[in-house]
């Protein structure tokens, strides 16, 4: 299977391996100052908010350890290959960065903030660059992505590639045609395009009903974010280059994004690869819906009689500081009783799905999802609403076990607009 995938893989730079000592010294050099900053701080406020630590209670899975390892490597007390695997125990949610006293109290002074997400990503890339072979499932995942041009979301067991020709199949039974290309492009995340197809359908219906013209890409590939998160930055770039070229060909000025993981790839990773003028504007669908509501361009006509709470997607709330729009939408849906848990409390919440964690550590990811559902259950609600398709699969599965429904916010918007009738 894996050989077959490899045979079909395109040539991407970074497939060769570099000497581990060289990789280590480059890694240590790049992160030493930050590492000492963390090392010197007595207050590890990152720890109890960390979703992974909450379920493992293992100090080596903490941002403190991730930074202290750098100092230990500098002092010759540890080698990269001896500590690298610890960096797979992270969902890259970014909660730790927000709680870091170094970010909170001296950040402005230095124009600096703790970048644990980057540290973890860089270590994963370093380990792969040195050919340590620590994470076979991530390797297969990225190889399968190279072949399927989208993530292999339909087969977590064998990690077989999807068929790239079916990336827009979700749109087939819509009552209207979606053209290819154009100024407004709807980018449909891998998970949504192949697995949770009800989501892109809902989004397409919302845009259609609001009278916003939009098209699909000629050939949509994975945003590349997961490849970066799993330690394959060159593969991420390979995918990104295709997408940027496709947008250019389409004449895209604005890209609607329905998934937080895509969104952060576009606004955080793409600007590192491409000059800003080559990139279109990226609009997160939740923000756009809130805007359409404000402008009276869409109306909620159908009540949803339910008591719900909301799950802040980590990429939006913790990494990008965006948490207001979804609450505004939930409060506008007639019939809905919305029990909010504030976004700061949710710095400690996660579904476990991000950062490739669920691919490499499915059992621990499930524990994180179970904990998230248990917290929602304590509020005596009927459903937990999310705005992240990646979170929805594990949460739905844990929710089934604990008898709690999990809903998608954009799908609820379509329902409240009466578009499902």
């Amino acid at each position: 299977m894996s050989d077959e995938i490899r045979a079909a893989m395109p040539e991407v730079s970074g497939n060769g391996h570099q000497d581990v000592r060289e990789v280590e010294s480059e890694f240590v050099r790049g992160h030493l100052l930050q590492a000492y900053g963390c090392f010197s701080s007595g207050h590890k406020f990152c720890r109890e908010v960390c979703p992974v630590y909450q379920v493992t209670r293992n100090e080596q899975h903490t941002p403190t350890a991730f930074h202290a390892n750098v100092v230990a490597m500098e002092k010759g007390a540890a080698r990269l290959e001896e500590v690298a695997d610890n960096y797979s125990y992270c969902t890259l949610c970014g909660g730790c960065e927000l709680r870091c006293p170094n970010t909170l109290f001296v950040g402005d002074f230095y124009r600096n903030r703790t970048r644990t997400v980057k540290l973890v990503q860089d270590m994963r890339a370093a380990a792969n660059k040195a050919g340590l072979g620590l994470w076979p499932r991530w390797q297969r995942w990225v190889e399968a992505t190279m072949v399927g041009k989208n993530e292999p979301v339909l087969d977590y067991e064998q990690i077989r590639p999807v068929d790239p020709n079916r990336v827009a199949d979700w749109a087939k039974d819509l009552p209207f045609e979606i053209p290819r290309g154009g100024e407004n492009i709807l980018f449909v995340d891998c998970e949504a395009a192949y697995y949770r197809t009800s989501l892109p359908k809902a989004v397409a219906k919302i845009l259609h009903a609001a009278g916003v013209p939009f098209g699909l890409m000629y050939e949509q590939w994975c945003c590349g974010g997961p490849s970066l998160e799993m330690g394959y930055p060159d593969h991420a770039r390979y995918l990104a280059e295709h997408n940027v070229a496709d947008w250019k060909k389409a004449g895209a000025k604005r890209v609607f994004v329905l998934d937080p993981h895509d969104y952060i790839s576009f606004v955080d990773m793409y600007p590192q690869f491409f000059p800003e003028e080559e990139l279109p504007e990226f609009v997160f669908m939740i923000d756009f819906v809130a805007e359409l509501l404000d402008q009276g361009k869409i109306q909620f006509v159908k009540p949803i009689e339910k008591t719900v709470t909301y799950h802040d997607p980590c990429r939006m709330n913790k990494r990008l500081g965006k948490w207001e729009a979804p609450r505004k939408i939930l409060r506008a849906i007639p019939g809905l009783t919305f029990i909010d848990v504030d976004h700061v409390t949710q710095w400690a919440y996660c579904s476990g799905a991000g950062g490739g964690f669920a691919v490499e550590h499915p059992d621990l990811a499930k524990k994180i999802a179970d904990l998230r559902i248990a917290r929602a259950k304590e509020l005596n609600v009927e459903a937990l609403v999310s705005a992240c398709p990646w979170s929805e699969r594990p949460l739905t599965s844990s929710g089934r076990e604990q008898q709690l429904e999990v809903l998608d916010l954009l799908e609820m918007v379509a329902e409240a607009m009466g578009l499902n009738d």
């Binding site: 701080s41 909170l104 001296v106």
Partner: protein, 511 residues
């Protein structure tokens, strides 16, 4: 006379025994597991990182598993170092002789909430913030509130005999622990309360007060596996008031007057000296600017029911006014108090003598000093610190705090803190020795002024530990050694901490 011999390394046989006793998945030997548990917050002799790495890490989940680990350690004569949050400031959890690192963080269950008798019984791996999140819906709280409140855990608080920021109202860790389950160094599991054995009784005269003996041992005498804790009604009202003064002397006098006011709701009195205020002006951009005439600050906090706090606030402001205090306003008072857990974490950076900004680690001395000696200690500690700054150029003086240190009252002795920045990346053996000498001089000054070396961190570090026999010269240290040997005949638990290797100095003992 035989001296302490080199401890036995943990052999494959010992590891196999541990795996059999508690399960393979709870016994970790990889470098990642060990290197992450080598240190507590800096400064740490980074250049000696490898010397402190434990041989194996164990993650027990019950008293029985802890007991099994200690029995195996006795059998193979290898050291065991208990570790809680690993945020202590005095190296209590740093292995001096490698061995088995016993990490209690997996023991974080809440075992029983008794609202009728106002107790909660927990495993020691639980964090106080998490406990209070659990308690919130019941209208009660556990008031142990160190600066590391969002991360430190109950077992470590007990192991160090922690100090709480609001302890003058609610008591400190040792006052908040009603009873303990402890595993002794030889593996026996015992239950101890205050003068007896009833788990929820706060005061008894039935037997020895053995509970207190096991608080503040730095893991040298036993491993706490369960604790029954005190619950208080959640305070209805909380008021923080910060006052400014034109001189340290005025602020010092005012501190005395405020502390002895007799206000039952007074939770804390904290004096900032002129070097602390100067430092905040210089390098803490989060601190709200003060008028230049302000040279020293006194922070106070009141906690209680609303009527009490209102009345107490009137009296508090009156005392402050009469002792030349200028109220610094609601924004600074409420803001700085609310962010106290973050604020006292302190910074990433300091300055070299020429003003250059460099990344620096934070060190904090924490002697307990009686009120009359505070001005003299302040002068001596600054003089010592400044001299080392001039000579070595890698330290920075971040000023001093004086915190009320007593349970249920503001007066008496103070936790005296001098914060010193250390340019850790520039540390080598020579500058490390200079640092230890600086600490020694600070400790000598403490002892000259009838103080105790540590109010709450512990006296485990070089520069402190060797002075324990000096401070406790009137038979106290002799008694400590006898107790240590009685309970830990093979010197298994956290060996050499608190200078307790002397307990075994007259016989051949491994480790």
């Amino acid at each position: 006379m035989a001296t302490l011999t080199v401890p036995n390394p943990v052999t494959d046989k010992a590891i196999a025994a541990l795996e059999q006793a508690i399960g393979k998945e709870k016994v970790l030997t990889d470098v990642g597991a060990r290197v992450a548990r080598t240190r507590v917050p800096a400064p740490f002799p980074v250049h000696r990182f490898a010397e402190h790495m434990p041989d194996v890490v164990v993650l027990p989940e019950s008293a029985e598993e802890v007991s099994a680990i200690l029995r195996i350690a006795n059998q193979y004569r290898v050291p065991v170092v208990p570790r809680a949050g690993g945020t202590g400031l005095a190296d209590g959890a740093v292995p001096l002789h490698k061995g088995i690192l016993l990490d209690i963080k997996k023991m974080n269950k809440i075992l029983e909430l008794d609202l009728v008798n106002r107790t909660v019984t927990v495993q020691p791996g639980l964090n106080m913030l998490k406990l209070n999140e659990y308690l919130a819906p019941y209208g009660v709280f556990y008031p142990d509130d160190p600066a590391s409140y969002p991360v430190s855990i109950i077992g470590g608080r007990i192991g160090t005999s922690g100090w709480s920021l609001i302890g003058s109202r609610y008591g400190h860790t040792r006052d908040l622990v009603i009873s303990l389950q402890v595993v002794l160094p030889t593996g026996e599991i015992v239950r101890l309360s205050d003068g007896g054995g009833a788990p929820k009784v706060r005061k008894a005269s039935t037997g020895y007060n053995l509970k207190q003996l096991f608080i503040g041992t730095q893991g040298t005498l036993g491993v706490v596996t369960e604790a029954t804790l005190e619950l208080f009604p959640k305070p209805e009202a909380e008021l923080a008031a910060f006052f400014g003064y034109e001189s340290f002397e005025a602020a010092y006098r005012s501190t005395g007057a405020l502390s002895t006011s007799g206000l039952g709701t007074l939770a804390a009195v904290i004096l900032f000296d002129e070097r602390k205020v100067e430092y905040l002006r210089r390098d803490d951009e989060a601190y709200i600017p003060l008028p230049e005439r302000i040279k020293a600050v006194v922070a106070t906090a009141l906690y209680g029911v609303e009527e009490e706090v209102r009345a107490a606030a009137n009296r508090l402001f009156k005392i402050a006014r009469e002792t030349d205090g200028e109220y610094l306003g609601d924004e600074l008072s409420a803001g700085d108090w609310a962010s106290r857990h973050d604020r006292y974490a302190t910074p990433l950076h300091g300055r070299l003598p020429d003003g250059t900004v460099v990344p620096m680690s934070w060190h904090c001395e924490d002697a307990a000093i009686i009120y009359s000696e505070l001005p003299a200690i302040k002068q001596k500690w600054h003089e010592i610190t400044d001299r080392y700054i001039q000579k070595y150029g890698i330290f920075d003086n971040w000023g001093m705090f004086f915190y009320s240190n007593n349970p249920y009252k503001g007066w008496g002795d103070y936790l005296v803190e001098i914060d010193i920045g250390i340019w850790e990346q520039a540390l080598n053996e020579e500058t490390w020795q200079a640092w230890v000498n600086l600490k020694r001089e600070i400790t000598r000054a403490t002892l000259e002024h009838q103080g105790s070396i540590s109010a709450c961190h512990g006296a485990c570090r070089e520069g402190d530990a060797e002075f324990i026999p000096v401070e406790m010269a009137e038979g106290g240290f002799e008694l400590m050694k006898r107790i240590k040997r009685l309970l830990d005949p093979n010197n298994i638990l956290n060996p050499s901490k608190n200078f307790l290797h002397l307990a075994y100095a007259d016989e051949e003992v491994t480790p």
